[in-house]
Symmetry: none
Subunit: 215 residues, 4 copies
DNA sequence: AATGAATGAGGGTTCATTCAT
DNA sequence: TATGAATGAACCCTCATTCAT
């Protein structure tokens, strides 16, 4: 019902004056507002206004409000998962992997997505969609735990309850959109570095070898 | 579960038992539901049902829905502030202070309050109440930053951006009610200990001297 | 269900410390509030507060809110009807009759009743009670028209549409509670006199013989 | 009763006819219902039903229920004020001015506006709006008093308490919507004439020269 | 591609009324 | 007599959603 990208028809290079509204922008703007006001408190009118369109116009691009939330979560999970996979592919060292995970996720979240939606309250999505998101989130958490446990096994990380540690880390990450200010003094990169060093240090058996949080 | 009189006279229909609704219970139950479903998605009917009363009955004890939210936040901030003050009073060692902060807050949050409400979305409270909560939250953050900076000054903690570190810690703490399961395998005390060791280790200049996360 | 006055039992002269609340006071206070805020906007709590009692306590004296309104109307109609009957009994002169009607009604309304309720909106009373009030009101209007028509027949009043004239008079009377201020500069008697002279003059064939409005 | 197109083409389901809801009609219909049932007893559903729309549809045109009441009062005051200004512009004779005031106001109220709302109970409007209406009402009363006092000064009207006279007149005018029946035997013009003659006669020093109420 | 207009469902809040004490 | 506590019905208002244009 939405299929575009055909290539043939609508081509004309830049002829048609691309619409001011794209699915991209809708999701970015929605995520921003969801993070600030919360999903339920956010009206489609809020989103429409942020985009400079009518509420009714949104329905041309979007199935319904739930769909928007689902897409937001999907994007955030794509980003998170990609971060982990990139990390695993780039280095075998668990501490280094964590650093990459943090950096890619935080930078993606703050710069590209304008703060992905992270809170998924019970009942916000229909059971089916909810399950899909929770499954992917579980998978993501398992991957992170895998890194931690790998580090413990190799003696690079101290023994610990990997589940709790990952919860702590995710809590810290998910909290970022609630205080991050794009116009503030802290660049996304700085945040990413600080968080990475802090958490890695908390896990490392030999933290003296890690970079200081702020040299 | 409520019946008082053995069963002779007032048996049958008489199991009514004076409604056990108090402001206390309302806040506890509300916090629980708010944390699960989110403030906006939570109906006063939801809360009433959880308490076994009618929605209208709530208004006998409570001003508003907003009032309920405000009281929840107040309770959480009381708990958090008390935790810090207790810590400061009990020991001069910053690392030990952090441990106390974690333990008291987490145990209070999980055991007593059934998970205090931590998310405060923009616009959920009227400007006046919102400001009051944000001010107290700021004060709380400043206290935590004080501990961290004190540790840095004394060479017990590594130099770092105290603001970011406190954000990370708060994120982790605020996330707890979203995954904590009173019936789960992890006791509040275990969680508190694990978090404390993880974060203190992340900050300590000489982490080898700290207890291992899992001995 | 209310019967008191028995005489025997509750006698003891002034023993029982007569209750602070009487049906009398309830009606007077209710009428006052009804006139200010309107019947529908007035809560039983408003009335109770004005009497210094609990809302529930009112139900000891009163059937329900509708009952209060009905009694108020009844009182006002008693007063209005009495005024006319007194006038008819005291003098055969229509102009003098009108003067008496005005004086007795206005003084009764302002002094005794604290402003009887005069507006009866459709649907405020159940059909049965509503009919009873409307019937009495019609009878009252007919009596007033009778005086006017008698005056016309005798050549004392100018020919006119008596129905319209009575509507005008009633409108003026019913409006009084909306602006009357017991603490204001105009005594009820003055108002009564002014109104009487104004309306009688408007009707009289030989107004020069009537007292001036303000001698 | 609504059918426009004879029945040929657009017969069947097509009798929809573009919803004839305008702010104009809403106010007229609201005033009518307010006058009959009273403001507080009137449901937005009542008004919506009278207009053949859903309650929610009203909110497309109107801010509030309060807003509707406020607009009604504004319209009535516009009408009343215009009437006075027209009168002052058309003739210097106070008695003639009053006649014009009555005629224009009554005809406007009954014919155009379906009976403007006149009762403003305490608390029905927010303090700010209430003040605005009361101020305008005061101004209107002052204008009427001005006419009366001018007449007295010129010896055309008998000396009297102009404030009380104006109250009497306004009471009579405000009462009209409570008994006026568009389908009844009395045309608005007749009412206006009768009232005008009656009141002017009540004030005139030389009433014999005025037209009889009903020749 | 976009909008004005309309709707149904639901949520917060108030209030008359009841009842046990 | 009087009250605290509770309830059901109703009302105002919002909002996601639809549809004709």
């Amino acid at each position: 019902m939405a299929g575009r990208l055909g290539g043939v028809a609508g081509a004309g290079k830049r002829a048609k004056a691309r619409p001011n509204v794209t699915r991209e922008r809708i999701l970015a703007e929605s995520a921003r507002v969801f993070n600030r006001r919360g999903y339920d408190a956010t009206t489609l009118d809020d989103i429409a206004r942020a985009l400079g369109v009518t509420k009714a116009a949104l329905y041309y691009y979007v199935e319904n409000k739930e769909d928007v939330l689902y897409q937001c979560h999907t994007k955030a999970l794509d980003l998170a998962t990609d971060a982990v996979q990139t990390a695993l592919a780039q280095t075998p060292a668990p501490d280094e992997q964590l650093r990459i995970v943090f950096r890619r996720y935080i930078e993606g979240m703050t710069d590209q997505l304008a703060g992905a939606v992270v809170l998924l309250y019970e009942g916000a999505l229909s059971p089916a969609l909810n399950r899909r998101i929770l499954d992917r989130r579980d998978a993501y958490e398992r991957m992170l735990r895998g890194i931690v446990e790998d580090g413990i096994a190799r003696g690079i990380f101290v023994p610990c309850d990997s589940k709790l540690v990952v919860f702590a880390i995710l809590g810290a990450l998910n909290w970022i959109p609630r205080w991050y200010d794009a116009a503030g003094p802290r660049a996304a990169t700085d945040i990413a570095t600080s968080f990475a060093e802090f958490f890695v240090r908390g896990l490392s058996t030999n933290p003296s070898s890690t970079t200081l949080l702020r040299p």
